[in-house]
């Protein structure tokens, strides 16, 4: 069992958890993920590591309540409660080097896994330009944390309720067009956002790393459910990734595979909501 040391709400249906998992906290790095299972009937949920604290043994995760399991986690798993299973770190860590000037783009929940990458890139000497975006002001989080590790931070919202109105790809394009030398870009967020960002950087030939959140079971290379096509070759996001060269990724295939269980996810959520319609702490 893995105890929830801290839980706080970052926005509507977005929560940050610090889970006690000392073995993982000792070795977990930016770019890697863990798999957790809430209870005996639960599914295995992959979540990217935000932060590891070897001192307290805490592993920080940010969870957006998009489906039944994550909603259940938000509703019923509080500080002091325990999660049944927690395994990691899994996947390949981000390639942190001093590249020069880098742009780190986070869209929506993607800001969470982006933060440790920006932090570590800054630590090794890069000039870090951060671009973070959310649909609206309420859904924005970690602005302070990103601000602390970026040399410049550009904040966007789709509806203009916070920062500049527009998408994260807009300032990315402006910076690249300005002729400023950018050595590398990280873009993490919804598949469609990453797809747009890699199309912006492609003509400028700036290497662009994306982090893919495909559906997976074990997270260690055994099921192959997370396979994605990178440069026309099937790769497993769990062991070959989750980070890949964005210019080589087939995003349409990724999105198609992410949506495969849409019907089942809706059914599961409806059943959960019907059962917990009243008296659920939100």
């Amino acid at each position: 069992m893995y105890k929830i040391l801290k839980k706080r709400t970052l926005g509507p249906s977005i929560r940050e958890y610090v889970v006690e998992a000392p073995d993982v906290a000792q070795v977990g790095k930016a770019g890697e993920f863990i798999v957790l299972r809430l209870h005996e009937r639960g599914e295995r949920i992959p979540l990217t590591i935000v932060e590891c604290d070897p001192e307290t043994g805490g592993v920080t995760l940010v969870v957006q309540e998009v489906g039944k399991s994550t909603r259940e986690m938000g509703d019923h798993f509080h500080e002091g409660d325990s999660i049944l299973d927690f395994a990691g770190p899994l996947g390949t860590a981000s390639e942190i080097e001093n590249y020069g000037t880098v742009i780190c783009i986070g869209g929506g929940l993607g800001i969470a896994p982006l933060y440790p990458i920006a932090r570590d890139l800054k630590k090794v000497g890069n000039e870090v330009i951060g671009i973070i975006g959310a649909r609206n002001k309420e859904l924005m989080f970690y602005e302070d944390r990103m601000d602390a590790v970026c040399d410049e931070l550009i904040v966007m919202s789709d509806d203009g309720s916070h920062g500049t109105k527009g998408f994260v790809s807009d300032p990315l394009k402006e910076i690249l067009e300005s002729g400023r030398a950018i050595a590398r870009v990280w873009a993490i967020g919804p598949a469609i956002m990453m797809k747009v960002c890699v199309e912006v950087t492609r003509p400028f030939e700036v290497p662009t790393t994306v982090s893919l959140n495909s559906i997976m079971i074990d997270g260690t290379g055994m099921c192959g459910g997370c396979r994605v096509e990178v440069d026309g070759v099937a790769k497993f996001a769990c062991v070959d990734g989750p980070e890949f060269d964005g210019h080589q990724v087939d995003f349409d295939l990724l999105m198609s595979r992410q949506g495969y269980y849409h019907e089942e996810e809706t059914c599961s959520m409806d059943k959960y909501v019907a059962k917990h319609a009243e008296g659920v702490e939100r």
Partner: protein, 333 residues
């Protein structure tokens, strides 16, 4: 690398780390504990049992039996740490540098092979590992009571002719498929599955489309719709001593399918081989180990089961575990 707090006392003063709680690892653990050593098994999944839990279906091996056997090991004092990803959470070297006198690697053949034909990433194409793991380990047959879903559809085609293919096709029937078809590239005589398994499959109404090989998966809106196949004939003997299947030109045809399960074998689970320097591997990525003792190229590190032999049987893995335990005991005492 700390010793788990629940670690049972060692009568001999020796501590053994077993990586992987499958048939080979469980056997080593029991044999070594019986000889008085303290034993900890590290398992990356959330339950012990390996392929006995995620691979072999309930109708062939009730999970309650597996758990009873594992319970008996725990009662003997074997310590089992689940969710422990050796190679990532800790490495083999850390186990050796820490409190363990010997390590046994029994991490199995967990890496699913695909065919490498177009359309294989369409929705509805599963590796047998994924299909069976969703159902057996995650209990997708009880969805939505359990959270992990599976889609089966009307017509399931399983590619391959081994025991796993038989398990997959029979599981598909139990999950409501109206038709379950096995597509295999050689003839019935070459089916690698045990005769009994083929017999059961036929009894249950599994259709066999023999001397047939998929060449493309055809989709509609990202979802599988049909499989394009080609007829095969048997030619010259190949390395395995079986007649090589050769495609017959101009015999392409399509089979409709809602789901395809690829059951053409597994490669060695790559996690330990990739993260253990100085561990000798063969050209397939399997660990090189002495067939008599299981000793690897690293002193006090032993290996056995599918991670050494490539995908084989539970019985062979248990045999390798027994032999390795004997050798480890002799080495330690």
């Amino acid at each position: 690398m700390h010793v788990p707090p629940s670690m049972h006392e060692s009568d001999t003063g020796k501590r053994i780390a077993v990586i992987g709680a499958g048939p080979a690892g469980l056997t080593v653990a029991g044999e070594m504990r019986r000889r008085g050593h303290a034993v900890t098994i590290f398992e990356l999944l959330h339950v012990a049992g390996g392929v006995l839990m995620y691979g072999i279906p309930e109708f062939r091996l009730p999970k309650a039996i597996v758990q009873r056997e594992i319970g008996a090991l725990c009662e003997m004092g074997v310590n089992i740490e689940v969710n422990m990803v050796i190679g990532r959470t800790h490495t083999v070297q850390e186990l050796l540098d820490g409190d363990y006198d010997a390590v046994f690697i029994g991490t199995g053949a967990g890496l699913p092979r695909f065919l490498g034909v177009p359309g294989e990433s369409l929705n509805g194409v599963f590796s047998a590992n994924e299909f069976l793991t969703r159902i057996n380990l995650m209990k997708a047959y009880l969805f939505p009571e359990y959270d992990t879903p599976i889609k089966v559809g009307e017509r399931v085609v399983t590619v391959g002719g081994g025991n796993v293919a038989m398990d997959s096709s029979r599981t598909a029937l139990r999950l409501g498929a109206r038709e379950s078809v096995i597509v295999y590239r050689r003839s019935e005589a070459e089916l690698p599955a045990r005769g009994e398994e083929v017999h059961h499959a036929k009894e249950e109404g599994i259709q066999f489309q023999l001397l047939t090989n998929p060449i493309e998966f055809i989709g509609e809106n990202g979802n599988l719709k049909a499989i394009r196949c080609i007829k095969m004939e048997l030619g010259e003997l190949d390395d395995s001593g079986r007649r090589r299947p050769v495609p017959i030109e101009g015999t392409e045809f399509e089979i409709e399918a809602t789901t395809v399960v690829i059951a053409v074998g597994n490669g060695p689970h790559p996690l330990i081989p990739q993260t253990t320097p100085h561990l000798d591997l063969n050209r397939w990525g399997s660990i090189v180990a002495d067939p008599e003792t299981g000793l690897t190229s690293i002193r006090s590190v032993y290996a056995g089961g599918d991670i050494v032999t490539g995908a084989a049987t539970v019985i062979e893995a248990m045999g390798a575990g027994k032999r390795a335990a004997q050798a480890m005991h002799a080495f330690l005492t």
